[in-house]
């Protein structure tokens, strides 16, 4: 080993910090899309490192479906306080009340797709020209072909067939009025990299990721948490389970796994032994083979 070499994680970190700094240098009104999940927490941590000792020079945007885990909301508010930066909330409930979005009907109804309306509204209202997200290429096949700098037209839409070529680490952020970019600094990270990094940096994450006792119902191979929004189907019953979540979204679509992992070390060990993908517990991805691509084209995260 040469004296001048970085570990894989250090290299990924350096790449991500470089990308985040490029965003701030190339755009007028960037923002970080913050879901409260581990990936956006890692991106926020990287942004803090990128501009230290200055504050993160952009706001966080959170799209609030109204169907949240209380823990996520508390975590978000504490983080924003600690960082001393602005929080922009885009409300799905408000979009529904204004008639901009229509609530889905049926037993599997969720507000997942409705987030697109609120997200694009927030981007337009605050004139955001670059929205930084925590999406990774390894998590979903439509995301495997994303660029670091991903261009969106003035309807906020993604055209996967007509993406700009991206070479070396030279990023082309040129755009017309009304268009914007989505930027993904942790494109090249895997789920394992994210967890190892959280462990290495000792980054605080919501308690939902650690094993805890919770009421849930077993549906579609996953433990769906009990909430005010859950409608039981025939034959289903609520049980108390020791469980945790591998990904966090809206409470109506995020399933958990049975687990005893209550420390970061145990989570890392559990994930390295696991044989299924993290999004296997997300009902939003199970709707069709190309449901992620279809949502992304419209302007999804």
């Amino acid at each position: 080993m040469s004296k001048y070499s970085l570990t894989h994680l250090q290299e990924l970190e350096s790449e991500a910090i470089y990308v985040i700094r490029e965003v701030v240098a190339q755009f007028d009104r960037p923002a970080i899309l913050f879901s409260g999940g581990k990936d956006s927490i890692v991106v926020t941590h990287l942004a803090r490192k990128a501009f230290w000792p200055a504050r993160i020079p952009m706001p966080l945007i959170h799209i609030d479906t109204g169907h949240n885990f209380i823990e996520t909301m508390e975590f978000r508010d504490n983080l924003v306080d600690e960082l001393g930066i602005q929080l922009i909330v885009g409300s799905v409930q408000q979009a529904i009340d204004k008639g901009r979005a229509v609530e889905e009907q049926g037993i599997n109804a969720s507000r997942n797709e409705l987030q697109i309306v609120s997200l694009l509204d927030a981007i337009e209202e605050h004139k955001i020209d670059a929205a930084i997200g925590g999406a990774r290429r390894d998590e979903e096949k439509a995301r495997a072909k994303e660029r670091f700098f991903s261009h969106r037209d003035d309807f906020g839409q993604w055209d996967p067939k007509n993406q700009r070529a991206e070479l070396w680490n030279i990023f082309n952020g040129r755009k017309r009025m009304g268009e914007h970019f989505r930027v993904f600094p942790i494109s090249n990270w895997t789920e394992m990299d994210v967890w190892n990094y959280i462990l290495q940096e000792n980054i605080p994450i919501p308690s939902l990721y650690f094993a805890h006792e919770r009421e849930a119902v077993y549906r579609d191979n996953t433990w769906l948490p009990n909430s005010d929004f859950l409608v039981l189907r025939e034959g289903e019953k609520i049980e108390k389970k020791l469980m945790r979540f591998r990904t966090l979204g809206d409470i109506t679509i995020t399933g958990g796994i049975e687990s005893e992992a209550d420390t970061l070390e145990k989570i890392v060990a559990e994930i390295s032994a696991t044989r299924s993908t993290e999004r296997g517990n997300r009902s939003d991805d199970k709707r069709s083979d190309t449901s992620m691509e279809d949502r992304k084209k419209q302007g999804y995260f």
Partner: protein
């Protein structure tokens, strides 16, 4: 470690990648299940591993890959990022994209057919983009009875091709991706082969010396100035080291202005550090209050790059429309953006024979050509063969904002 692969539909590339991912346990059960179900629905006799990554609707409909796909796998020894480039559509454009960030190129050759046009093209691009390592996998050895003679014939052919290329490290491995010979484990069918398996080679190949640690280069991305009382006089230049090693106390020059100073400190979130080398992202504070901003490059005073307005560039044209005569383009290199015009096409390159075509100078999509460029402001650069970061550039069309070309600076 980042590597790139390229090939046509039937050379076994998907099978090889599928095997690397599967044997290193990087494919999850629910992914395999989903692919099995999709394959069954389509009435396929076997599990089509390409469905794992050909994720776009139009790709699944047409059964082709239309874009560079990134895949990830890890072994206990090393983590890998594969830029998998499709064989047919927009061949050169995709291969150049995949090659631009790779440490290593995997070239697949069918043992029955030997070196073909496509092998030349892929190897040539690897050479032009200065990928330091190439592994030639001579595949389908099972179809030539694992014959050493057949293998040697291909090695000989490739070595003749390689004599015209600029690649320092070339290795050959006889494999059968389908049966797994020499992919992860050493094959018992080819005892005459004394080298390592493909995975073993990928895990142990020495790549840390590929970075340029001689010529210190620091393109400035942005200036950090906290407007907080506790950091009242703090001012630092944020960037990613593009070459060499910087230490506090180093005499530096800021280019293109030529102003000089000394490094006061190298700062990170974790505290100040004693040295910064490529590819670290850090911020640098200087002893003197001089004018430094985005687009400038901090270098060591005793080792300076070129500064100029006339460039010799090898361009790969990526847009469907050819360059407009006399048109201005945005040229981006490191953190710099200037306007540029193509003054003259010196020659086009026949990507199959590597010959120079002096007569034909009409650039079209997927063409590679040597051009003379004139830029509006002085650019700080190195020759690409000396530094892949400070020697590379892209051109952007000011009318469409599209990236229309990739370039490596020759002089």
């Amino acid at each position: 470690m980042r590597f790139t692969t390229a090939g046509s539909v039937d050379d076994g590339k998907s099978t090889l990648i599928g095997r690397l991912l599967y044997d290193s346990k990087s494919i999850f059960e629910d992914q395999i299940e989903a692919v099995k179900k999709s394959s069954e629905r389509k009435g396929l006799a076997h599990v089509d591993l390409s469905l794992l990554t050909d994720g776009l609707r139009s790709e699944r409909e047409q059964g082709i890959t239309i874009d560079v796909a990134y895949r990830y796998f890890a072994t206990p020894k090393r983590k890998f990022i594969i830029a998998d480039t499709p064989g047919h559509i927009q061949y050169t454009r995709n291969m150049v994209t995949g090659a631009s960030t790779a440490n290593l190129a995997l070239v697949l050759v069918d043992a029955r057919h030997g070196v073909i046009e496509q092998t030349c093209r892929h190897s040539y691009i690897a050479s032009l983009l200065k990928i330091p390592h190439v592994i030639v996998c001579i595949n389908k050895m099972d179809l030539v009875n694992y014959s050493e003679e057949a293998y040697n014939k291909v090695v000989e052919q490739y070595e003749e091709l390689a004599s015209k290329l600029d690649i320092t490290d070339i290795r050959f491995i006889p494999i059968s991706a389908l049966n797994g010979d020499n992919v992860v484990n050493k094959s018992t069918n080819m005892n005459w082969y004394t080298g390592s398996s493909l995975l073993d080679t990928l895990e142990t190949i020495h790549i840390s010396s590929d970075e340029n640690h001689l010529d210190a280069r620091f393109p400035v991305q942005t200036v950090i100035r906290p407007h907080q009382d506790e950091y009242h006089d703090y001012r630092a230049y944020a960037g990613r080291v593009a070459g060499g090693v910087f230490r506090p106390g180093d005499e530096i020059t800021v280019l293109p202005s030529g102003l000089t100073s000394k490094i006061k400190s190298i700062n990170t979130f974790g505290g100040t550090i004693d040295e910064a080398f490529s590819p670290m992202s850090v911020s640098i504070s200087l002893e003197d209050d001089i004018d430094v901003s985005r687009g400038d490059m901090i270098v060591k005073t005793d080792n300076q790059p070129e500064v100029g307005q006339d460039l010799d560039v090898l361009l790969c044209w990526m847009a469907t429309k050819p360059p407009r005569p006399g048109a201005k383009y945005y040229l981006k290199s490191t953190t710099n953006e200037v306007m540029a015009i193509i003054k003259e096409v010196t020659y086009k390159i026949d990507i199959n024979t590597m010959g120079e075509m002096v007569e034909d100078t009409n650039i079209k999509m997927n063409d590679m050509a040597r051009v003379r460029m004139r830029i509006t402001r002085p650019l700080v650069y190195d020759e690409y063969r000396k530094n892949r970061i400070t020697g590379s550039l892209i051109l952007i069309d000011d009318a469409t904002n599209e990236t229309v070309a990739a370039g490596t600076i020759l002089a």
